[in-house]
Symmetry: C2
Subunit: 455 residues, 2 copies
């Protein structure tokens, strides 16, 4: 028989503060730069886009930042999220390792994204903002922010990558249901959109273009702000509730992880699960390995350059110090849409440079093999992004078996796969591909970057 164990927190045990890793990093990340002056950007540069509280959080050195009461109340719709011991998976792998996973798919939008969406909507609401723009690829971030802005009475405009808009109507309907206005990008609404459409009326769009459109809309209206779902420091800050809860839940089991694993797109779910454990590596001399898992087809952490680069394709954002494949890099059409991004956030990049975390790249087929095994034995169908974390958790569990020693593995299951069942079907029918990428291809887009950081 199968034994499945869920470790809950009670409501009153939910953490009351986010953890700000900037307070503890041995080397702080380099500052973002203005693309024209190459001078560090200041609060005044960011004020047209973000509320002042978020700008402060972006550079804060306070270790613990209190979760506002209004945000806390909304978190309580789905938080604390469960931590599971994956007994069935352990049994299936016949491993001496203990495998735990934190499950963020229980949020109304189905992933970890609402953790920051709610916080961002709140700080904007507090500053009297009535309208926010954002971009979304497959729709996870757009739907999370629709859910959040709706609760605060803020109107949301989402630029959705056109190909996803057409191919994935369900996420669009979800955003509409939560009252958001969803525009296929590139659009005629912005100069950047029109420019793209002039050159190619049939452009399928890209996340980079959509960011440019959303930023442009926010820039030209003083009552409109912009919101980003990953990469930035304040986004990762809000996600630390994941790891902080997991710490408390693990305390109840008596286990402590030897390795913590998260999939990696821009860094938000990874930072969320990992940073609280890094805190204990820093402060209590723990030696937990922290592993970020990226797609082999979008290997910025394992094969990218550490350099200043833009967050978007058009070059509207500040230059961010990051591991990057170059902002003109176009990732292959893998199903893990949330991991199809050319760069990594500044904090995570610095941590990797300082060898305080590890990175691994995994091919698409291995991730679906892992995810479908997981679904069958544990009963929860994971998002393709999360399958990357599962794949490495399985690698670690197999290694433990080979080495004949126990260890404790924790990974973050960042979201459910209800909208990705078509991808599972392709996998089962043998239609899914691995994508490889040559050094030449990477060199092409990386080579175009201005070399601001010298090796």
């Amino acid at each position: 028989m199968h034994k499945i164990n869920r470790i809950n927190l009670e409501g009153h045990e939910m953490p009351t503060h986010w953890y700000n890793i900037l307070a503890d990093m041995p080397n702080k990340p380099l500052p973002p730069l203005h693309p024209l002056t190459l001078q560090p950007v200041g609060p005044e540069d960011l004020a047209p886009l973000f509320p002042m509280e978020l700008i402060k959080q972006e550079v804060s050195s306070e270790r613990w930042i209190e979760i506002p009461e209004e945000v806390y109340d909304i978190y309580r719709i789905w938080r604390p999220t469960p931590l599971y011991r994956a007994y069935n998976l352990e049994k299936q792998l016949d491993t001496p390792a203990k495998i735990y996973y934190k499950y963020e798919g229980v949020s109304p939008a189905g992933s970890h994204k609402p953790n920051t969406a709610v916080a961002q909507a709140y700080y904007n609401w507090k500053e009297g903002i009535k309208r926010i723009t954002t971009e979304t690829g497959a729709g996870q971030w757009g739907s999370a922010l629709s859910f959040a802005t709706q609760l605060f009475g803020i109107q949301l405009q989402v630029f959705m990558v056109k190909i996803s808009y057409m191919q994935k109507p369900y996420r669009k309907f979800m955003m509409n249901t939560w009252g958001a206005d969803v525009i296929p990008s590139p659009s005629e609404l912005t100069e950047s959109g029109r420019k793209i459409l002039e050159a190619d009326p049939n452009s399928p769009g890209s996340l980079g273009i959509a960011i440019s459109e959303a930023v442009e809309m926010a820039m030209k209206d003083p009552n409109t702000h912009y919101s980003l779902g990953s990469v930035l420091n304040h986004v990762l800050l809000h996600q630390t509730i994941i790891g902080l809860e997991a710490l408390k839940q693990l305390e109840k089991t008596g286990d402590y992880p030897d390795v913590v694993i998260g999939c990696f797109g821009g860094g938000s779910n990874f930072g969320g699960i990992a940073f609280p454990f890094l805190h204990l590596n820093f402060m209590e001399n723990k030696h937990t390995r922290i592993v970020a898992v990226e797609p082999a087809s979008c290997p910025k952490l394992t094969r990218g350059a550490f350099q200043y680069d833009f967050g978007d394709v058009a070059g509207f954002t500040p230059l961010i110090p990051m591991y990057t494949l170059g902002h003109e890099f176009t990732p292959a059409a893998i199903h893990a849409g949330g991991l199809r991004y050319h760069g990594a956030g500044a904090i995570v990049s610095q941590l990797l440079k300082d060898k305080l975390i590890e990175a691994k790249a995994v091919g698409q087929l291995e991730t679906f093999e892992a995810g479908s095994l997981f679904a069958r034995v544990e009963g929860i169908i994971p998002a393709p992004e999360s399958n990357h974390a599962i794949a490495v958790a399985i690698q670690e569990a197999k290694k433990a078996k080979e080495e004949g020693r126990s260890k404790t593995i924790l990974f973050n299951l960042s979201g459910h796969g209800f909208f990705d069942l078509g991808a599972y079907d392709q996998y089962f029918s043998g239609k899914l591909e691995d994508y490889s990428i040559s050094d030449q291809e990477i060199a092409k887009t990386v080579g175009k970057l201005k070399k601001i950081i010298q090796d």
Copy 2:
């Protein structure tokens, strides 16, 4: 600001027994009859289809039936489910009423169905059964049973109504992901399927046909059992964990419901939320109103006949005493697929006949108006079935406002609407219809029933 309140139970507070209402009903339901002899069916008639433990539960007069440890362990993946106070909805309606809802959409399959699927898979597993057949319409039940049988290593064959099989591939992929074999019905695998296909090679199928195929497959193989997701007494028994948890959760608030509301298809989620409160109506002289909500287009409770009828179209099942529109009744193509069923279970029918519960019928447009308002203020997107319960909860809250007095409303939110976002899109774009049904139409199918019960 919005205040949202989730009332949790801790793991150890989860009820350990199901509640069997047969023990307390003033009038027991009439027995099911063999269609040829019109004699009550005995255990030996049912043994080819169901494990003996379930056959016993079907007629048990024990009030409390212990949840087996293995079932309890699996329930703990997602149970206890949350109870919410719908503060935002109350505020939006400006009502003095308190509105609570129990949320079953957090299960891995996304509805209350796994509560009985896991129990049924367990009892079959315990009896050594290696293979189960079932039918599914839109796929909620099929996916719940796939999830459950997978955990017990039982092979599942699902006959899925062909039109849904073609139009709703996601639920099919979900079943495949959990290892089930999904067959579009009518199929060439069974005699009943072949007969239908001979007459109409393009038959879109129906739930009644799919039941006939699944039962036929189970009947002809002694190692194969059959499993049903609603209507039967043991199914409703397993669902009572919903109401038992809600009772404990409400205790923590100090409130007790004046009215309990559930949507109604065959009766499983309704019985689940309602029976534990009926228990207290019976035993502690409480006077909670219990309301079953059906679609106006499939009004068996409000406009059907109380008569013996088959559970399926082909007439393979025993005759069940029920409120029915006749087994040849074809419900309109509303989006609440789980409520498109001609009859009600025997227990619920008897309770309605004895006026111990009430029934209401609501049109499709009103249910989507209610559901989309709910999604926007509460943040959770409900299944179209659940929207029926929400619609009547809103009616009750408005009535409370008109009458200027407070009351406590509890409804069951039986599942999420992630696979029904297309229906919401149709609603928002004005394409959704109400379906009315004439007395003549009802008389046509009801008139064909053999009159076994005299008025």
